[in-house]
């Protein structure tokens, strides 16, 4: 997923965009930027500084800086919860744990190799169950029986889910079991880093009330969840952009931004098809 966050001088969010990424990153970067600007009737030249983050950060030609999503989430989460020391981001295709001090990233662990510890695990198993991903959380909260999903691998977990259904287990109990399985992977990752309060859960996984419950139970700790968990990375990037700008102005009176052009990247453009 691709997200854009525009903030004002006081770090308030004034415009946001969220949407599926797809294959053509450079074209998409232009497109989502255009949408974000349109919402607040701004031109791209009105933006003081732009920071790109995430896997596609190298594909944002008009970005002034590229910063890893780890540092950006650390910043974004700290702006919402100033006392955060540990943050867990459960994304669609990866999961990260970050140790934070005063808004700065101190250390981190990531899982971006195995689907079993990411949102993908629930996407895949939801599809197997014929359930919409956005309903999985609520369904899990209705469980009355504890079911252990024994398989570590997403693919094998799918098979196990079918076997459980055919055994007559309730959908709600199975879905809760899946959430617990995902939460235990996340907990294992987080415990490698050591958890200090305040603990924040963010990312798409944090929008899932079932996941919030499961992670809370797995870690045995209180969790803070931002109102817009999908945006903490982009928010952090925007705040770091603001800091970059202010630092440059303080040091030399001005910040020289990259050329601000939102033309279609013609390499992928329709004209060439």
């Amino acid at each position: 997923m691709t997200k854009v966050a525009l903030i004002d001088k006081s770090s308030n969010l004034i415009s946001t965009v969220k949407g599926p990424t797809g294959p053509e990153h450079r074209q998409l970067a232009n497109e989502v930027m255009r949408q974000a600007l349109e919402k607040v009737s701004l031109q791209i030249d009105d933006i003081s500084c732009i920071v790109a983050t995430g896997y596609g950060r190298v594909n944002v030609p008009f970005a002034d800086r590229q910063i890893t999503e780890l540092s950006c989430h650390a910043r974004g989460v700290s702006s919402i919860f100033p006392n955060v020391r540990t943050a867990i981001d459960i994304g669609g295709q990866d999961a990260k744990c970050m140790k934070i001090d005063n808004g700065r990233l101190i250390s981190f662990v990531m899982n971006d190799k195995c689907a079993a510890g990411t949102g993908r695990f629930l996407e895949v198993t939801a599809a197997t169950l014929g359930v919409k991903l956005e309903d999985m959380g609520d369904i899990s909260l209705k469980a009355t029986k504890r079911i252990q999903i024994s398989n570590l691998c997403t693919i094998f977990a799918q098979q196990e889910v079918v076997a459980l259904l055919s055994r007559g287990e309730r959908l709600e109990d199975i879905v809760a079991g899946l959430h617990n399985a995902l939460a235990s992977r996340i907990a294992a990752l987080a415990q490698r880093l050591g958890i200090e309060p305040d603990l924040v859960l963010t990312g798409g996984g944090a929008k899932n009330t079932g996941m919030v419950r499961a992670v809370k139970e797995s870690l045995g700790r209180e969790l803070l969840v931002p109102e817009e968990p999908l945006l903490t990375g982009a928010l952090g990037a925007a705040i770091l952009a603001g800091e970059t700008y202010m630092k440059a102005v303080a040091a030399s009176g001005a910040f020289s931004a990259k050329p601000r052009r939102l033309e279609k990247a013609t390499f992928f453009g329709r004209e060439h098809r």
């Binding site: 890893t68 700065r104 250390s107």
Partner: protein
């Protein structure tokens, strides 16, 4: 091989086409001896006028053939090495010398033998501890190796030729250490990427030619004006094997790698074979004691039965303290190849040692495939962001 290329550009050329010189020598009647690990005593091979050639894998080559011979959850380095061999990339070899440095090396030894047709195979056993009895046993193993190698080469391994070979290989070690002296300045005069190419080239040439190449490189680097850019971070990389420039480039996009403690870096060159009335004894001592690979079980005090963690850390990793100071290192990356048990088990202790020294450090695991580079980049960049 182009006559025009010298020094660093020659090293780069060899890096891109490693086997060319070995094939030329083979065509001219020399015999080439493959070895998969830095623990094989190359001096004995050189002394019998055979050409040692390190068998390497290729990170960019998808592993397709090795699956019929090796399990998939297995050292990716050995898998790709064997894969390349099965694809005929080492067809010019006249033999393989394998050694019990670690389990994958030991287990793959027999697989090499079954799946290839070289006229000569020898497996050297090596103890995991570093103590007098182990040393004595290892000497015995090297004497066994001497016998089979003499039989294969049709020559006797005299003390004189062995001493000359030791001198030549020691000279190479000295030259590599001198090259690393040139990474001490800020910015370093030579990059980690260039050193990967140089070391790979050294593993592809007879020792005398490697020494000539190094001499050229030294004078080139000392007087160059086109060295690496200064970066704020001066890194130590620590791991098993780092023999691919793509990996180095991930680190050096935003940092200077001034010391690489791996088989693609300084590990095989940091110490010297000392002179000894029996050269085999000197070789055994060097290879067993001086190579700081995680495969060895080292104790501060032999037969230690009480837990003394700090002293244990010092005895295992103390050599890094001086390096960190002298090279002004401000960050350490512990790089693990997936499934590598010896190095994996060292990581937590090494982390404690680095934390004790106050050196920011991070642990990164990757699987030695082209797909590993993007996640590696994210982690390296995030680590550099924490120390900037």
């Amino acid at each position: 091989m182009s006559d025009k290329k010298r020094g660093l550009s020659k090293a780069r050329e060899i890096y891109l086409n490693r086997s060319q010189r070995a094939r030329e020598l083979k065509a001219a009647g020399k015999r080439i001896m493959g070895y998969p690990c830095a623990y094989v005593p190359l001096e004995m091979i050189t002394a019998l006028d055979l050409v040692p050639y390190r068998t390497c894998g290729d990170m960019k080559e998808p592993v397709t053939e090795a699956d019929r011979a090796l399990p998939s959850s297995f050292c990716p380095i050995m898998r790709t090495c064997l894969d390349c061999a099965l694809k005929g990339k080492n067809d010019f070899l006249d033999g393989m010398v394998t050694i019990h440095s670690c389990d994958p090396q030991e287990k793959t030894a027999r697989v090499w033998e079954s799946y290839t047709d070289y006229p000569y195979f020898h497996f050297i056993d090596m103890p995991v501890t570093v103590r007098p009895e182990a040393l004595e046993y290892f000497e015995g193993q090297l004497n066994d190796f001497k016998k089979t190698l003499e039989a294969f080469s049709g020559k006797k391994l005299s003390t004189g030729t062995l001493e000359a070979a030791i001198e030549s290989h020691n000279r190479q070690r000295t030259l590599v250490r001198e090259l690393y002296e040139l990474t001490k300045p800020s910015p370093p005069l030579v990059s980690g990427t260039e050193i990967v190419q140089v070391v790979k080239a050294l593993m592809s040439l007879p020792v005398a030619e490697g020494n000539e190449l190094l001499a050229d490189i030294m004078s080139e680097v000392q007087s160059r004006t086109d060295g690496p850019e200064r970066k704020a971070a001066r890194l130590l990389t620590w791991g098993s094997t780092l023999d691919n420039t793509d990996i180095m480039q991930v680190f050096e996009a935003k940092a200077n790698v001034v010391m690489d403690e791996s088989c693609g870096g300084i590990r095989a060159y940091r110490a010297e074979v000392r002179r000894s009335p029996d050269p085999i004894e000197g070789l055994a001592d060097y290879y067993l004691n001086e190579i700081t690979c995680a495969r060895s079980f080292r104790q501060a005090i032999l037969g230690e039965t009480r837990k003394r963690y700090a002293r244990d850390l010092q005895s295992r990793f103390g050599y890094l303290k001086g390096i960190i100071k002298e090279w002004n290192i401000n960050g350490a990356i512990m790089l693990l190849v997936r499934y590598c048990d010896p190095f994996a088990f060292e990581m937590p202790s090494l982390k404690d040692y680095f934390d004790g020294l106050g050196i920011p450090n991070t642990y990164i695991e990757y699987d030695y495939t082209a797909g590993a580079l993007a996640p590696l980049r994210t982690r390296v960049e995030a680590f550099l962001e924490t120390i900037s």
